[in-house]
């Protein structure tokens, strides 16, 4: 994907949705539950900052909710799953594959993507959960991590089911006009490269072969040891968190795979000042100046209460 060279300045793809909630003076839950409100918040961000890539709002509970899992829905923080009810194959058998136009908030996200596609003159990216992370929400994260060694047969069944859910939902997002998919697979962060390949990478690779648009793979934390396996999924880009050395990462991958990263969303963007943001962005741009496949982004989702002037400084430093 050699798209970078067409542009004079670096491309920007901040993982940003929540700060839009503040621009529209709405609540987080209103944005998750109402496509028009979420789109208004995203449009406020788009109009103010004009990044080259826009994402819908990051939401790791969406697929799990469509499967009937219990969700904690505070009005001022992202949703979380409170129960992980799938203990065995019998429990798994009781779950139905959701209908993406009917179940949970899948129709809301699809509507947001349709509106983004119609309105934003940029690359619109839809988030989707990764198979291992969805398995972790169904069974409990510590259970799926232990089952890598303790119960592979059951884990594989859950991963196959999770993959089906993800595939169906992703196709709906593609049909709604997503230009790219960004898959979030945070629960895989503690696995060895071999474990990642067996219990996440191989499933992602299979899913990717069904999709006709580019895939960015995001895993939180220090994923340095996983990078080689991440790109073996045939994804078209990887999004790396703040603790990864991007220059090192760039040396590990070929120039046709995008590298998104990795200004620290909390220590720099949320808690730093605008001078610090500018300094960090400029340093990163300098370090990556010879990497054509680099796209400036945040290491992870930008928190709700990030000062808007810091986002402004991020975008301004990129354009200079």
């Amino acid at each position: 994907m050699k798209i970078q060279k067409k542009f004079k300045s670096v491309l920007t793809a901040p993982l940003m949705g929540l700060p839009g909630v503040r621009l529209t003076s709405t609540k987080i839950n209103e944005n998750y539950e109402d496509a028009d409100i979420q789109f208004r918040s995203l449009k406020a961000l788009y109009d103010k900052y004009h990044p080259n890539f826009m994402f819908n709002m990051m939401d790791l509970s969406l697929e799990a909710e469509s499967l009937g899992l219990k969700i904690l829905k505070p009005d001022d923080a992202p949703y979380t799953i409170v129960e992980h009810p799938i203990k065995n194959e019998h429990d798994l058998g009781k779950l139905d594959i959701p209908h993406p136009q009917k179940n949970g908030r899948m129709p809301i996200a699809s509507k947001v993507i349709r509106k983004m596609h119609k309105t934003f003159d940029c690359i619109n990216i839809a988030y989707i959960i990764g198979p291992y992370t969805l398995a972790g929400l169904l069974c409990g994260a510590s259970t799926v991590i232990k089952n890598v060694l303790k119960n592979v047969v059951f884990l594989e069944k859950v991963l196959e089911f999770s993959s089906k859910v993800i595939d169906i939902y992703c196709n709906e997002l593609i049909n709604s006009g997503a230009d790219m998919i960004c898959m979030l697979e945070p629960t895989a962060t503690g696995l060895s490269p071999e474990q990642f390949k067996e219990f996440s990478g191989n499933y992602i690779k299979k899913l990717k072969s069904n999709w006709n648009i580019p895939l960015i793979l995001h895993i939180c934390g220090d994923t340095t040891s996983l990078i080689r396996e991440m790109i073996k999924t045939n994804c078209n880009g990887i999004s790396l968190d703040a603790m990864v050395d991007l220059q090192h990462a760039a040396n590990l991958i070929s120039s046709d795979i995008l590298i998104l990263g990795n200004i620290d969303p909390v220590r720099v963007l949320a808690f730093g000042n605008k001078e610090e943001v500018e300094e960090k962005v400029k340093k990163l741009l300098f370090d990556m100046k010879d990497t054509d496949n680099f796209i400036l982004s945040s290491g992870c989702d930008i928190p709700l209460d990030t000062p808007l002037e810091n986002i402004e400084a991020f975008m301004k430093a990129a354009r200079e």
Binding site: T80, A141, S142, I145, K146, G190, C220, M243, R267, A270
Partner: protein, 206 residues
């Protein structure tokens, strides 16, 4: 002692069934302190392997489960030495329900002889402070996995300062998105990059 060595290996391999069987046998004719000290040593070795990326989170979790099971068998036989025992309050900060890292810290610190009081997940600032005062804790351990909830660690330290209680407790923090720099920024006493570092911090605490 061969059997004790085997027990340590079963725990390190996360083979809880064999570990439990052997621990039940061993406790009848071994000193509980010796068992615990061998297990702690074994877990430190596992920690070194984790550091060198020879083992990963799945291996750690099954080993800590096995350790916890063996501790349940051995603990009742330990003589009670309350006066020197350090106490740590531990919990995941408000808004965050992740517990893997926190639980690992709890198990390893227990094995180091620390009195660990686990407040669970999504713990309010007030609860950390009130409980720490109630039990005269030495250390408050704050865990978080999400970038959106990291500020909860900062808020606990701020509240302690506001109430003039900051010097009463050491505050240690951990979790995937945090760092030494974050600990410095918020004024925590230590950042522990993993559960083994937390156990070491508690072990060396005067």
């Amino acid at each position: 002692m061969e059997e004790l060595k085997s027990l340590v290996e079963f725990v390190k391999d996360g083979d809880d069934e064999q570990a439990i069987d052997l621990a039940k046998k061993l406790i009848k004719h071994s000193k509980p302190e010796e068992i615990i000290s061998s297990l702690t040593e074994g877990m430190r070795e596992l920690g070194d392997k984790f550091e060198r990326k020879e083992v990963f989170l799945p291996e750690l979790l099954i080993a800590s489960d096995a350790l916890m099971e063996v501790m349940k068998i051995v603990e009742p036989y330990l003589p009670i030495k309350k006066e020197n025992k350090k106490t740590m309050i531990i919990g995941t900060v408000a808004g965050d329900i992740h517990e893997i890292g926190k639980n690992l810290v709890g198990v390893l610190c227990k094995a180091e002889g620390i009195n660990v009081i686990d407040l669970g997940t999504d713990v309010a600032i007030r609860k950390f402070i009130d409980k720490a005062e109630e039990v005269s804790a030495d250390v408050i351990g704050l865990s978080t996995l999400m970038t959106n909830t990291m500020k909860g660690q900062k808020e606990v330290v701020e509240q302690l300062i506001k109430e003039g209680k900051r010097d009463k407790f050491k505050v240690i923090i951990g979790g995937a998105p945090v760092s030494q720099r974050w600990a410095d920024t918020i004024g925590a006493d230590a950042y522990c990059k993993d559960a083994f570092e937390a156990a070491k911090y508690l072990r060396n605490l005067k």
